[in-house]
């Protein structure tokens, strides 16, 4: 199993570096093993160098930068072994418009290989969806599903 871990780790490492640059629009992301001599127990460290900044531990990043690093890591695993579907609940909340657009662009590119279900309050994300469901409580306390068109949610 340790060769299997090594093979998986190398794929995830490659995808992470690639996705980091795509999501941040530049810069460099790096995974490192805490103990490369022991595949059975080693941990994984994450280093990030947003465009124009120095390479640093992720602790010093901003709220939005941390969320973007986390998404790069999760998607790196998704690309290593794509799951049949993917459900994301308001992961775009801390992101600015530029980062939301790059994030959505990636999902659009992958949308023929998997199903993506996004719960969101962000209009830019809604605009990229193929189908849109609304959940409402017309009767207080009782959830109901309604179909919603993009014009209804546009500002």
């Amino acid at each position: 199993t340790s060769t299997r871990f090594k093979e998986t780790y190398e794929k995830v490492q490659h995808h992470f570096a690639d996705l980091f640059t795509k999501l941040f629009g530049g810069g460099k992301g790096e995974l490192r093993l805490t103990d490369p001599t022991n595949y059975r127990e080693t941990g994984i460290d994450i280093f990030a160098q947003p465009p124009g900044k120095r390479l640093q531990a992720i602790r010093l990043l901003s709220g939005g930068e941390k969320a973007l690093v986390a998404l790069a890591f999760l998607f790196a695993m998704f690309l290593t072994r794509p799951s049949p579907f993917c459900v994301l609940d308001e992961v775009d909340a801390p992101l600015d418009e530029g980062n939301i657009d790059r994030f959505n662009q990636l999902l659009v590119e992958w949308s023929d290989m998997s199903q993506f279900i996004l719960i969101t309050h962000n209009k830019r994300t809604m605009a990229r969806a193929k189908s849109l469901f609304g959940v409402t409580m017309e009767q207080p306390g009782v959830s109901k599903i309604i179909s919603v068109s993009l014009e209804e949610v546009e500002p």
Binding site: K66, L74, L118, I119, H121, Q139, G141, I145
Partner: protein, 169 residues
Amino acid sequence: MRIRRLELIGFKSFPFATTIEFPYEGITAIVGPNGCGKSNVLDALMWVMGATSPKLLRSRSMEDVIFAGSENLEPLGRAEVRLTIDNTKKLASEPYREIPEIEIRRVFYRDGESEFWLNGRRCRLRDIQEFFLGTGLGTNSYAIIEQGKVDAVTLARPEGRRLFLDESA
């Protein structure tokens, strides 16, 4: 494997039978005001796929998944979720490989009884959990991110992060 439809009956804030049909591929957005029931839909999906920890479902006990009543409606006695999986690409593991559509049902009664069904036949919780093994949708799934949990990756210790990797191996 894709999600074809999800049906909620008496699950959390959905007292009446509610069906959501999902397109085969692409992005589906679920929208609505605060507290309307969006994250409850995600809870229903995780529950029918075999989630056992109430804490994962933002609940104190499993009983919290049953409709607890509203201003005008009394609490119900059972919660049920049905998940219909499209398997036309034969990605499911044996013995389901050749079956084009697979229905998974989970029922919970207020007295604590549970029922699990796979394609119309009673089964155990473990059978449902095994159905999703190896698809990346297990307990440390990188493919299901609950509200507020995207930070779990950056806040986790280095040893914790490898659990995600083991899921994708």
